[in-house]
């Protein structure tokens, strides 16, 4: 299989690899996929009080295209508001990385990762607020 230059670049030099500390406030964590399906992505978003993504980290088990999709997404979300981030579509990732049809599921995984991270952030924020009040 031939990989696009951008996939190769993200695979060789993945951006924003790592993990935020679990208990860090303002962090939403999404873990999507399953080991037996061959891909698992963990995406963490650090979101300011006014709902802007300030930073992102990822770790991904999966093929080169899955790693590249995750890496690209961490760049894409930075500086965007939660509402904007929720509107990111997998087709955007497919287009940017020139993913072939058999790799579209990698971009779907990345989109799911964003949604899961935001959902986690919202959940934690409501429980935190409840705990504070």
């Amino acid at each position: 299989m031939a990989y696009s230059e951008k996939v190769l670049d993200h695979y060789s030099n993945p951006r924003n690899v790592g993990s935020f500390a679990k208990d860090e406030p303002n962090v939403g964590t999404g873990v999507v996929g399953a080991p037996e399906c061959g891909d698992v992505m963990k995406l963490q978003l650090k979101i300011s009080d006014d709902g802007v993504v300030e930073d992102a980290r990822f770790k991904t088990f999966g093929c080169g295209s899955a790693i590249a999709s995750s890496s690209y997404v961490t760049e894409l979300v930075k500086g965007k508001t939660v509402d904007e981030v929720m509107k990111i579509k997998n087709s955007e990732i497919v287009h940017e990385l020139s993913l072939p049809p058999v790799k579209i599921h990698c971009s779907v995984l990345a989109e799911d990762g964003i949604k899961a991270a935001i959902a986690d952030w919202k959940r934690r924020r409501t429980t935190d607020t409840k705990a504070a009040s």
């Binding site: 060789s12 030099n13 399953a34 037996e36 770790k59 088990f61 093929c63």
Partner: protein, 420 residues
């Protein structure tokens, strides 16, 4: 820097042509180009002589009679001819075939086709956790309707060697024909069609340092005499079992390849085994959670199939292929050619059915890599591959959320994964 050019460790897929094989073939493209079936002139006689000599060389490697060798285009065709040919010819005797779940697709898909057409019923025997077929299970599977047992010699993915001598003996006792797809075993392991009670045997030149597009089916002519219905009809070549003008240069190369394998087998097996153990020992010493797929002892000397837990196979292949792609960072590193049982590398997007049959979970199947070591690999190459593999696995484990979770003591089996 260890090596300057790409390292080829995919010798189960195909092998390079040995220069001595190529040299033997060359005259048969130009000077000695005759049709082996031309009986009216010297061009034909010379070609026929070359084919006869090659037939002798090939037969000798498996202790067969030279006239029992039927030339084909390769093992896929040989498997098709053996199974379809026997089922069709013996249809009045019965229609049951016994085979195993880890066979090559050339056997499995042929069997499925016969089932679909209603021409045969097929028993697909399971294998143990090492990929081995139990001879007693073969015995139990044979019925009054059984016309053929087809069990491979060595498996192409995990390298497991089946006890085909025992299986052949059982088939013979029961009066059932025994076919073995010996594509991976011939030339690397001893084969004796008499001692092993083999009635039909598939082989292919390009897996043993011969050219692509030429193979053979051994068809026993005596005690018992095996009959087949041909798939390809025409001029009646090859005792009527496979018509078509013979591929003389290919056959000459196949013959030479067999001769070289026979002469060098013991030394080569030892040398290749030593290289494999060297690679395995290095990897095991450097990395945790590496799991062997297949049998620890009864396996092809050149086969190492391992799962690197938490690292998806295709991503590892991508790293090892490195400099085929314009990645500046690794441009100076020679690429390494291996293969994987991961879904991402198969057309079906399913992980390897062979690993599944061994009971390897899908999670580990996705992380499997097959190293196929062969005649032309060197110590330097093996050391280079060891270093690169360890380096890439470490890098990808640093990227792997599963490795992180496992190191934190999380039981990955207990996690409620979000599947799509």
């Amino acid at each position: 820097m260890y090596t300057t050019k790409a390292v080829y460790l995919d010798n189960h897929s195909t092998t390079p042509v040995d220069p001595r094989v190529l040299e033997a073939m060359l005259p048969y493209f130009t000077n000695t180009f005759g049709n082996a079936a031309s009986r009216t002139h010297g061009f034909g006689w010379e070609a026929e002589k070359a084919v006869d000599d090659a037939r002798e060389q090939i037969a000798r490697l498996i202790n067969a009679k030279s006239k029992d060798m039927v030339f084909t285009s390769g093992a896929t065709e040989s498997d098709n001819l053996a199974i379809k040919g026997v089922v069709e010819f013996y249809k009045d005797k019965g229609n049951h075939v016994v085979t195993a779940v880890t066979e090559h697709k050339a056997v499995l898909d042929t069997c499925r086709m016969l089932e679909r057409k209603g021409l045969a019923t097929v028993t697909y025997l399971p294998v143990d956790r090492y990929g081995m077929v139990d001879p007693d299970a073969v015995r139990r599977a044979i019925t009054d309707e059984t016309v053929l047992v087809s069990i491979m010699y060595a498996n192409n993915e995990v390298g497991t060697i089946n006890p085909i001598g025992e299986i052949g003996k059982i088939a013979r006792e029961k009066g059932v024909l025994f076919h073995t797809d010996a594509t991976q075993g011939v030339g690397k392991l001893p084969v004796d069609v008499e001692a092993m009670h083999i009635d039909l045997l598939s082989m292919s030149a390009h897996k043993m340092y011969g050219p692509k597009g030429i193979g053979a089916l051994y068809v026993r002519s005596k005690s018992p005499r095996v009959r087949l219905t041909a798939i390809i009809d025409g001029g009646g070549h090859e005792r009527g079992m496979r018509s078509g003008t013979l591929n003389v240069p290919g056959i000459v190369g196949f013959g030479k390849a067999c001769e070289l394998c026979r002469e060098g087998m013991a030394d080569e097996a030892q040398r290749v085994l030593r290289l494999r153990e060297r690679l395995k020992d290095f990897i095991y010493a450097q990395l945790d959670e590496v799991y062997l797929n297949g049998h620890p002892v009864h396996r092809l000397p050149g086969n190492l199939n391992v799962s690197f837990a938490y690292v998806e196979g295709e991503s590892l292949l991508m790293g090892l292929n490195g400099s085929v792609h314009p990645i500046a960072a690794s441009a100076s590193l020679p690429p390494i050619a291996v293969s994987s049982g991961s879904a991402c590398t198969s057309a079906t997007l399913e992980p390897s059915y062979v690993l599944k049959a061994l009971g390897v979970g899908d999670d580990l199947a996705h992380t499997s890599i097959r190293f196929g070591i062969g005649r032309f690999n060197t110590d330097e190459e093996i050391d280079y591959v060891g270093e690169r593999v360890v380096g890439e696995v470490r890098r990808l484990r640093d990227l792997s959320p599963l490795y992180e979770m496992a190191k934190e003591g999380i039981d990955l089996k207990s996690v409620a994964w979000q599947r799509d």
